[in-house]
């Protein structure tokens, strides 16, 4: 078995203690939720930590609540299985329930948390490997090296965002509360729209730093005619990270006419990709009518043209691109079903 490097394990019971412990570690501290991503990454030594702050004892980080407005307020430490099986999430945010239900395998969903999946590190076939493996290539851009093995001569890491929950949360216009240790400049709290979280750098694809703790996920109320779906491309029926993930949102009026549409794709590059040109084609089409079929055909073409999978994660990237329109279609079908 690969050895887990040594670190100090802290087990605070409040958010304030947790963020202070990470702040005190001077960049060498990490939050630990379910551990299904962090622990293998520590073993692979592309994440290093002197202090690991386990969040399991912080009750304030748990729970799924329906807000007065009819939206959701989700504690990031809520397990993936609890999200996937929550009747409230299934009703208000069906794409999220579907997406989370496809994450990894049953044991991982028991341990893994929604906050952990939101904050999941990027993945690449050249980084998610042991220290020995990476050292025999002279490492890579993401950690310890200067070359990219995906894009020859590439200067920016293109490791892929691989969190199934991300495209679903993007279509749901979620917002995220973060908190870090207060300083003389502020109380350390901020709220980001989900779309603002990510940046196009696989080395660290978040606009928050590692000492900022995700403390709450807010999902605004969805209208009566809201439909959401998720389609995941993977070789096996379980365990695997997405080779492609597509979340689709359709808000329809009482006549079945689409008023708002959104499609977001994951597992391409460092950030989720909103295929706006494609989803815009759906607005005005009517479910079950010829106008929808026509729109769907155009959406598939537009999505194909906008998505360019790279040989960053395993699997034939040309085939993955061919699967874009198929999985857009399947995500929409899952939303309508």
């Amino acid at each position: 078995m690969l050895r887990l490097p040594q670190f100090t394990l802290e087990r605070p019971t409040t958010i304030e203690e947790a963020i202070q412990l990470v702040a005190d570690a001077n960049g060498r501290g990490r939050f630990l939720a379910g551990g299904t991503d962090l622990i293998p990454n520590l073993k692979h030594e592309f994440i290093e930590a002197d202090v690991v702050v386990a969040l399991g004892g912080i009750e304030a980080l748990r729970g799924i609540e329906v807000t007065a407005e009819g939206g959701l307020s989700i504690g990031p430490l809520t397990s993936l299985v609890d999200i996937a099986e929550s009747a409230d999430v299934q009703r208000i945010a069906p794409a999220l329930a579907q997406a989370v239900g496809t994450i990894a395998g049953p044991q991982h969903r028991q341990m893994g948390t929604i906050g952990g999946n939101v904050m999941l590190d990027t993945r690449c076939q050249w980084i998610n490997q042991s220290h020995f493996w990476r050292s025999s290539l002279g490492f890579c851009l993401k950690k310890d090296g200067s070359a990219c093995h995906v894009v020859e001569g590439g200067k920016r890491c293109v490791a892929a965002a691989s969190n199934d929950s991300a495209p679903a949360l993007a279509t749901l216009a979620a917002t995220l509360d973060f908190q870090k240790a207060p300083t003389e400049y502020g109380n350390g709290k901020r709220t980001l729209a989900f779309d603002e979280l990510f940046k196009a750098d696989g080395a660290w694809n978040k606009k928050v730093s590692a000492d900022e703790l995700l403390t709450r996920i807010h999902i605004p109320a969805t209208p009566v005619g809201h439909k959401g779906g998720y389609a995941k491309l993977r070789m096996r029926g379980s365990i695997d990270f997405p080779l492609l993930g597509v979340a689709a949102r359709l808000d329809v009026d009482g006549e079945g006419v689409i008023e708002h549409a959104d499609i977001v794709v994951i597992a391409l590059q460092a950030r989720p990709l909103r295929v706006r040109k494609a989803s815009a084609l759906l607005v005005g089409a009517k479910l079950g009518a010829a106008s929808y079929d026509d729109a769907l055909a155009a959406v598939m073409v537009a999505a194909y043209e906008q998505c360019h999978p790279l040989p960053n994660i395993p699997g034939d990237h040309e085939w993955r691109q061919e699967m874009v329109p198929i999985y857009v279609k399947r995500a929409l079908a899952a939303a309508i079903a």
Binding site: M1, L2, R3, Q6, G105, Q125, N128, Q129, S130, F132, W133, S135, S136, L137, L233, M235, R236, G237, S238, I239, D240, F241, P314, D316, E318, W319, E322, M323, I326
Partner: protein, 783 residues
């Protein structure tokens, strides 16, 4: 074959079997389920050190220098060894010893072992490994076997006579020219078999201890204790009698624990140097580097058939990618040709197989050693030939069934043969006649057949001693203990031994112990490979039981003052057949026998008869009995994605007699699973740097329960004249047809012929597109 090796096929002591044929629980089943079983990594000894390896980051390089001084200076480091400490080459085949426990002068693939550290704990050993400084001179690397065929400088093994050619075998039987001339249809096509590995759940682990008087004990997760003892003692310069090798409970092997491995030599050497016990446990990544998995093969097959379905001849040209060392490669090269000559009768055959070295993890034996790849190619071609002559593919296989008590074109003796019944079974169970060719687009059925060995009379190193030996100890307690060198690797060999003891001596299973795979305690047995264990160890066990039984019956008869023929022993009690009230328990009979003979015991052995064709290599693949298999696979192909959904596999397998139907069915299901998963999910390969493309069970995916088809085990019992009670193998044969039957099912489903593995969705889509283009063209032309 002496009379001692033939024991009849019926129930030994009455009309019916008492233990044979019953689905008795595996001997180690509960201990594995409860966690009580002790695997190599569970062994903890006082003062034990942990060892780690430094591995090569280069695919092919000369070692200029190694500096271990910084590593040795690290606190907690006890010893460091390099190739200079273990300079003697080893290898399981006597003529191709080309491996060193630690690299001497050269490294040959990324992951090759260079140095080893023993330290107080794993972390210290790992830290020390990173402090070892090695200077390399990088050499040209070979990743393409076709390059190794023609380029020999630099040679991967400079001492090798044939440059980068590891082994070439050319054999011809009959007259191919007239064979093809007389055929109505001749097809010639190329097939590609990718590599795959075993992925046993338990990673390799070894622990060694050296006593003060120089006796070494080595616990290792090996499937062949005897070969480990031979090679480790030789490399360490120890007499074999002073090296005790023990195989603890094993978590799967599938051929991947057949070779002696670096870690066994290293822990033994480090234990001798440090005077402390030393353990080495490999990571999953290291297991992928150790590999010895299925060889990639590029195969060209040319086969002729007559309109009546009879095959006229087969010609094969095969390039085998061996990776960096020989391992069992000599045998692989022979097997790639020698094992194709059943279950079909073709009068003319030629094969030309060449194994080459490349700078990749070494290939070796994996379940269905050397014959799964040719079977893949041939059974697809047979399907195509069936179509060409307009005959049902099952019918073509029937027409060519070689039958029983015959000889193959390459001189192998075939005795029992249930292949025809296997075809009947899969045809019936899959509803072939009403469904094949009539299912909706995307769904299809495919068939394939195969034949495999139940051990071979080629004992790796030539010798006249028994291939299987067993010893029984019995005393007044009523307990019978069997000491067998046979390795139980989860396939159930110790359970087979117990079943036979219960049958022969009328014992309750709990009154039998089996001590296996401990070279100090057990007679030599050649171990778990070539599907030899049930056949050979089974026969040896019957032999020992009958000798023991004779002693007991003789003593009881003397006591009762009756003829020995009147004494019945077999159902848990012993009685006088002519005076049934004269009755004692088996335990009491043991007491009488112990008093009569003094301390009791017996030995049993098995050796194969002289078999095989009268030519060089004619004994390789010659088996005392062959098993036969047929599969029908049902598949759904998603024409949008190219993804394959495995629905059903009907597995009919002729295992002779099923000594334990539950274990036989388990082997059949496990084999079919392993084969079909190789086709769809697995690809053991290196990337453009020569580095393993993803040495983990995430990047090298195996089917989960969700991806596994329904597996239907259909046991066919042909009752072999020489097998124990008629039994033959069941552990490897049932794998073979899975891959070609899947390809044939895909053809039935969507009309594409996949001749290159693995069947990735991208490949399926490409083939579908090519077919659509061709269909359009043909349609256009006919208009």
């Amino acid at each position: 074959m002496g009379a001692r090796d033939q024991h009849g096929t019926g129930a030994p002591w009455g009309d019916e079997f008492r233990a044979v044929g019953k689905s008795l629980r595996k001997i180690e089943g509960l201990s594995k389920a409860t966690g009580e079983a002790v695997y190599a990594d569970d062994i903890m000894l006082p003062g034990m050190l942990h060892a780690k390896l430094l591995r090569s980051p280069h695919a092919h390089a000369r070692i200029v220098s190694i500096d271990t001084s910084k590593a040795l200076a690290l606190e907690g480091v006890h010893a460091i060894i390099t190739g200079a400490d273990l300079p003697i080459c080893y290898g399981v085949i006597p003529w191709t010893k080309d491996e060193n426990a630690l690299a001497v002068d050269k490294v040959r693939f990324i992951g090759d072992e260079v140095a080893a550290v023993a330290a107080i704990d794993e972390d210290t050993a790992n830290a020390a490994v990173r402090l070892i400084e090695v200077e390399y001179e990088v050499l040209h690397s070979y990743f393409d076997p076709n390059e190794s065929l023609v380029r020999h400088e630099p040679a991967i093994h400079p001492g090798n006579k044939h440059g980068n050619i590891s082994k070439r075998v050319e054999l011809e039987f009959g007259d191919l020219e007239s064979a093809f001339a007389s055929a109505d249809v001749v097809m010639e096509e190329d097939f590609v078999f990718h590599g795959s590995t075993h992925a046993a759940i338990e990673p390799h682990c070894a622990v060694a201890r050296a006593s003060a008087d120089g006796l070494v004990t080595l616990w290792s997760s090996t499937q062949i204790t005897h070969y480990v003892q031979r090679e480790v003692s030789r490399v360490l310069g120890l007499p074999q009698s002073r090296l005790r090798v023990i195989q603890p409970t094993l978590g799967g092997a599938f051929g991947g624990k057949s070779d002696p491995f670096s870690l066994e030599f290293v822990v033994a050497k480090l234990a001798l140097i440090t005077g402390r016990p030393v353990k080495m446990l490999w990571t999953r990544e290291e297991v992928f580097y150790a590999h010895r998995g299925r060889h990639p093969m590029q195969m060209r097959y040319k086969t002729g058939i007559k309109k009546d379905g009879h095959l006229t001849g087969v010609e094969a040209t095969i390039t085998i990618d061996g990776g960096s060392y020989s391992s069992f490669g000599l045998v692989t090269t022979y097997y790639s040709g020698q094992l194709l000559t059943g279950p079909y009768d073709f009068p003319n055959y030629r094969f030309d197989s060449t194994r080459v070295f490349t700078n990749k993890p070494p290939c070796g034996p994996k379940r269905g050693h050397g014959s799964v790849q040719p079977r893949f190619a041939f059974e697809i071609q047979l399907d195509e030939l069936s179509e060409a002559i307009g005959m049902d593919p099952i019918e073509v296989r029937r027409v060519n069934d070689i039958g029983e008590n015959t000889k193959t074109v390459n001189g192998q003796r075939v005795t029992s043969n249930g292949f025809g019944r296997c075809l009947d079974e899969v045809e019936r169970a899959s509803e072939w006649k009403t469904r094949r060719g009539k299912l909706p687009l995307g769904t299809g059925l495919g068939v394939a057949g195969s034949m495999y060995i139940s051990g071979t009379n080629y004992p790796i190193y030539p010798n006249d001693m028994p291939q299987a030996g067993i010893q029984l100890k019995v005393d007044r307690s009523g307990l019978v203990t069997a000491f067998t060198g046979g390795n139980d690797i989860g396939q159930g060999s110790s359970s087979v031994v117990r079943t036979i003891l219960c049958e022969e001596l009328g014992l309750d299973p709990l009154d039998v112990r089996v001590v296996a795979a401990d070279t100090d305690l057990c007679p030599v047995d050649l171990g778990a490979y070539s599907s030899r264990v049930t056949f050979m160890v089974g026969n040896a066990t019957i032999d020992a039981c009958r000798k023991l039984r004779k002693q007991i019956v003789e003593a009881v008869a003397a006591k009762w003052e009756v003829d020995a023929k009147r004494v019945y022993l077999g159902s848990g009690e012993v009685f006088d057949t002519e005076q049934r009230e004269t009755k004692i328990t088996t335990r009491e009979a043991f007491e009488i026998a112990e008093a009569f003979h003094d301390t009791l015991g017996s030995t049993g052995a098995y050796n194969t008869p002289t078999l095989g064709g009268d030519y060089r290599g004619g004994s390789i693949g010659a088996s005392p009995a062959y098993s036969f298999t047929a599969h029908v696979v049902e598949v759904d192909v998603d024409v949008e994605t190219g993804m394959i959904d495995l629905k059903n596999v009907w597995v009919a397998h002729d295992c002779g007699r099923a000594l334990n139907p539950m274990l036989v069915a388990g082997q059949m299901e496990g084999s079919a699973y392993m084969g079909i998963v190789e086709a769809v999910f697995e690809d053991h390969k290196v990337n453009r740097f020569g580095l393993h493309s993803g040495p983990s069970l995430l990047d090298y995916p195996l089917a989960t329960a969700l991806d596994t088809p329904e597996l239907h085990a259909l046991i066919v019992e042909s009752i072999d004249p020489e097998g124990p009670y008629g039994a033959k193998e069941a552990g490897e044969g049932p794998l073979h047809p899975a891959l070609p039957a899947l390809s044939n099912a895909i053809y039935d489903a969507v009309g594409i012929r996949l001749r290159e593995l693995p069947f990735t969705p991208g490949r399926v889509l490409t083939a579908l597109r090519a077919k659509a283009a061709l269909d359009k063209e043909t349609k256009g032309a006919s208009c």
